[in-house]
Amino acid sequence: MIPVRCFTCGKVISTVYEEYKRRRDANEDPKKILDDLGLDRYCCRRMLLTHKEIIDELNPYQ
């Protein structure tokens, strides 16, 4: 799961992850998406850029 807040500054970033993922999968430029979503600081931007979703891989091993 995407972290609730940015590790560094504490801004809530998890709310925009769904939109980010959808637009990224539609091959949009990540820079433009992040700018649109209002993530100005590089600490918040890396939270989305570097996230790897693994919850679906964990679920079978319940």
Binding site: V4, R5, K11, S14, E18, I55, D56, N59, Q62
Partner: protein
Amino acid sequence: MKIEFSSLEESAASFILSDVSIAFANALRRAMTSEVMAFAIEDVKIYDNTSALFDEILTHRLGLIPLVTDPDNFVPRSQCSCDGTGCPRCTVTLTMSVEGPCVVMSGDLVSQDAFVQPAEDKIPIVKLEKSQKVVIEAQAYMERGIEHAKWSPVTVCGYKNYPAITHDERCDGCGLCVEVCPKDILQVKGSVIGVKDGVLELCSLCRLCELACLNSGIGNEPAIHIGMDERKFLFTVESAGALPTVGIIKHGLLFLKNHSDELHEALSEIRG
């Protein structure tokens, strides 16, 4: 003390604080980050958790959800008459009962208080597959940000000195400093250097312009001088969602006022 707002929204504000010392500006910053109280979930009773996340991770995620805070109608638990056991004056109970398949959102939390609610409804907590369940009861109360960052009402809260850019008579308007300025705030006006209109506040005091001036072979001292106003500060405050920025600033200032009053009283007692 004077406060001039250049922008003021619920979630972010920037203002100029003038006629104060550096110590006061820093005290205000520290008061806003670590002394202004906000609600956050602290104790969680887990009745059922068959999701892929451990109980600890689940509760950690719950704790980080900002809750809208009403500091006037609640008392901090440490000052409450219930002695820290939890009562309606200091504690709000939130419950959640969700069964998959779905993504559990912060909006699924049902608060017993009409005002103290998750600041945002779309914070994902955990993804549930078919027949997975999360049933919890959480207690939230007000605490200071100094105890844990989840109780801090701000994300970004900082200040810098107000810049003062001047040049002396040796400036010949060569434009070397204009090229190196990363914020692009300088321009050549006639045969001397000047600051573009309305962008002086963007200056980050990096002094690359002074360096460029020295490298032009002007001598031991640069012709452009980056100074700062010692009694004027540019503040930036961003709210995490618990309180509006105005509330954070107000309560930060109130905290300073109350503490200086206490100090004043203590000193008068000693003096007799």
